[in-house]
Amino acid sequence: MSGGWRTLCDMTADLVIEAEGLVKHFGKTRALQGVDLAVPRGTVLGVLGPNGAGKTTAVRILSTLLTPDSGTARIGGFDVVRDAERVRQSIGLTGQYASVDEDLTGRQNLELFGTLLELGRAGARRRAAELLGWFDLTDAANRQAKTYSGGMRRRLDLAASLVGSPDVIFLDEPTTGLDPAKREDMWDVVRSLVTNGSTVLLTTQYLEEADALADAITVIDHGRVIAHDTPEGLKRVVGGQTLEVRPSDLADLPRIAAILSEVGSGGQADEIRKGVLAVPVTDDRALTASVARFAAAGIAVTELSLHLPSLDEVFFTLTGRTASEDDTTHRTEVAA
C-alpha cells in the first residue's frame, strides 16, 4: 500500500512538504528513526500515532524549531535548515500546547503577530479583527487570553498561526482535550482552510479524526513510519467501521444478531462484550437502516453506535502488538 501512495506522490510531483530520513535523538531517546513524509499541494496529511511516537518532534523539525540529526526536509522547495528564514515566511504553526501570551488579550496577541509579520499597524489591526470575527472571538477580543475556555484558546491559537496567511499549516493535535462538539467545529475550520488552498499537516491520536480530515494518513510509531496510505486504503487494512448495539433486554440478542448480519457488510454479528453485539459495516446508512429494522421489530436498545477502530486496534493490526504493550518493551530496551 505504501507503494501506491508513493506513486501517487510522484505523479503529482508538486510536493509542498517533503521529508526524507528524518532522525532525531534526545540523549538515549530515539524520537525519530528515519521518517519520510510527503504532502502534495492543497491536501491534508494526517500523521497518526500514539503518545511519544515522535509526532511533535517531526512537526518541530518541519517548522524550523529543531534541526534533525540527519535527514532533510523541504517546505515549498526550501530546506528547513539552510533556508529556515524562507520556510518561516510560508508556514503557520499551532503547537500541541497553547502558544499565545496569556497575559495579553486575544486582540493584542493577534496584533502583535501581525506587526511581527510586517502587516503594518493598520494591516495588523484589520487582520486581527477579521480573524477574531471569523473564529467567533470578537466578544472576548479584549479579555486576557488566560480567561478563555479551552476551546476559545485553541481557536485563538489557530487564529494566531493564520495571521500571515500561510500556505502551509502545521496543527499538532489540534483537538486533543476538546469535547466532541468543539472537535467538530475545529474539523470545519481545517476543511475551510484546505478549501482555500492551504496545505495542512495535522497530527492526531484518533483514526476517526485523520479519516474525517486527511487525504492521506501516515502512521508512525517509535519514530518510524509503519504505514502510509489513503484513509480508505488504511481502513481496508485495519478494518472499517463497526456497528455496536446494546439491547435493553438480553433476550433480544438473537433477533438483533439476525438483523445486524443483514444490515452489515456480510460478516457475522459478534458479542464483543457482555450484552453488546457488533458487526462490520461499510456504509453509514447501516445505522439508520438498523434503527428502522429494530423499530419495526419492536426491539428496544440502550446504545447504538458506529465506531472506527481505536488507535490500539490499528496498531494491533499493523504491528501485531498493541501500542501500550510495545511501549513497555521499548522502555526496557532503552534502559538496557
Binding site: S90, L93, D103, T115, W134, M186, S192, N196, S198
Partner: protein
C-alpha cells in the same frame, strides 16, 4: 463551525517564493513590538512591581533610622548619603526579574511561536530587555519619591538629577543581559533568582552603598575600587549631591558597555542553542 461565516481569511494560493523582505531596521522594529508586549504584561500584573518598590522603603527606613545616627551623626546626613546607593542597589536587583521571567516564559509555547516567525531570532530577547526600561523608571521614581517623603533633597540641579536617573536606568538595562544569560543556562526560575542574588548582594555590600569606601577593610579595597556598583553610586551621588565625580560616570559607562559586549552575545548564543 456554526459561527463561522463566509470564506476563511487565509492563504494566497501560491507559495511565496519572493526573497525575504529586507525592510530596514527589522531588528529594531520587531524588538520594539515585542518590548510593547513586555510593557503590557508589566501593566497587567502590577503586583510584580511590589518587591522592587518595597525593597528601597525597607532599606531606607532600616538603615537611616537604625544606623543613621551611628554612621553619619545625623539621620538626615545619612539619608542624603544613602539614597543614591539604595537607588543603585534596588535597580540592580530589579534587573534580576527579567531573568526569572524569561526562564518561565521560554518553556511556554509563545517562544516556539516567535521562533517559527520570520523575525530575527534575537528580537524576543532584545524586546524583553527593552520593555523592562519602564520597570527601571518606575523603580527610580518611586525610590526618589520615598526619599523625598523622608526628607531627601537634590543639592544640584534638575538636569544633573535627571542625568543621574538616566545613568541608573542605563546601568540596569545593560546589566540585565547577565540575568538573561543566566536564565538561558539555569533550569528553574528559582535558580536564576538565587544565583543572581548571590552575585548582586556582594556587589552592593562590598561597595560604597552603605558606608564610604575608605572605611572598609584594606583587603576589600581592591575589589571595591573596581566594583561597578561603586562607580554607579559615586556617579549618582555626584550628580544628585555635587560630590566630586572623578571619572565615575565614565567608569560606569565603561562597565555598561562591558556588560553588553560580554553577556549579550553569550545570551543570544545560548538562546539559539536552547530548544
Amino acid at each position: 463551525m456554526s459561527t463561522l461565516v463566509g470564506t476563511p481569511p487565509t492563504a494566497s494560493p501560491v507559495l511565496s517564493t519572493a526573497a525575504p523582505n529586507p525592510r530596514p531596521f527589522r531588528l529594531v522594529r520587531h524588538s520594539l513590538a515585542l518590548a510593547k508586549r513586555s510593557l503590557i504584561k508589566t501593566w497587567r500584573t502590577p503586583e510584580a512591581l511590589i518587591d522592587v518598590t518595597l525593597q528601597p522603603v525597607l532599606f531606607l527606613v532600616i538603615f537611616v533610622y537604625i544606623f543613621g545616627g551611628a554612621v553619619a551623626g545625623s539621620t538626615h546626613d545619612y539619608l542624603q548619603f544613602l539614597l543614591p546607593g539604595i537607588l543603585a542597589q534596588t535597580i540592580a536587583t530589579g534587573a534580576i526579574a527579567i531573568g526569572v521571567n524569561l526562564n518561565t516564559d521560554i518553556a511556554k509555547g509563545i517562544f516556539d511561536r516567535f521562533r517559527s516567525l520570520p523575525i530575527p531570532r534575537s528580537a524576543p530577547l532584545v524586546g524583553a530587555v527593552l520593555g523592562d526600561v519602564v520597570r527601571y523608571v518606575i523603580v527610580t521614581v518611586s525610590t526618589l519619591a520615598i526619599g523625598y517623603l523622608m526628607g531627601f533633597r537634590i543639592d544640584t540641579d534638575p538636569l544633573r538629577a535627571i542625568a543621574g536617573c538616566v545613568l541608573a536606568v542605563l546601568f540596569a538595562l545593560c546589566l540585565s543581559w547577565l540575568p538573561v544569560y543566566v536564565s538561558m543556562k539555569v533550569r528553574t526560575p528559582g535558580a536564576v533568582q538565587g544565583l543572581m542574588f548571590a552575585l548582586i548582594m556582594p556587589l552592593s555590600f562590598a561597595s560604597n552603598v552603605f558606608v564610604s569606601a575608605d572605611t572598609l577593610p584594606g583587603w576589600m579595597q581592591a575589589f571595591v575600587d573596581v566594583n561597578p556598583m561603586t562607580h554607579l553610586v559615586a556617579a549618582v551621588r555626584g550628580l544628585f549631591l555635587g560630590t566630586p565625580l572623578d571619572g565615575h560616570v565614565w567608569w560606569t559607562l565603561a562597565w555598561c558597555a562591558g556588560f553588553v559586549a560580554v553577556f549579550m552575545p553569550l545570551a543570544l548564543r545560548a538562546y539559539r542553542k536552547k530548544i
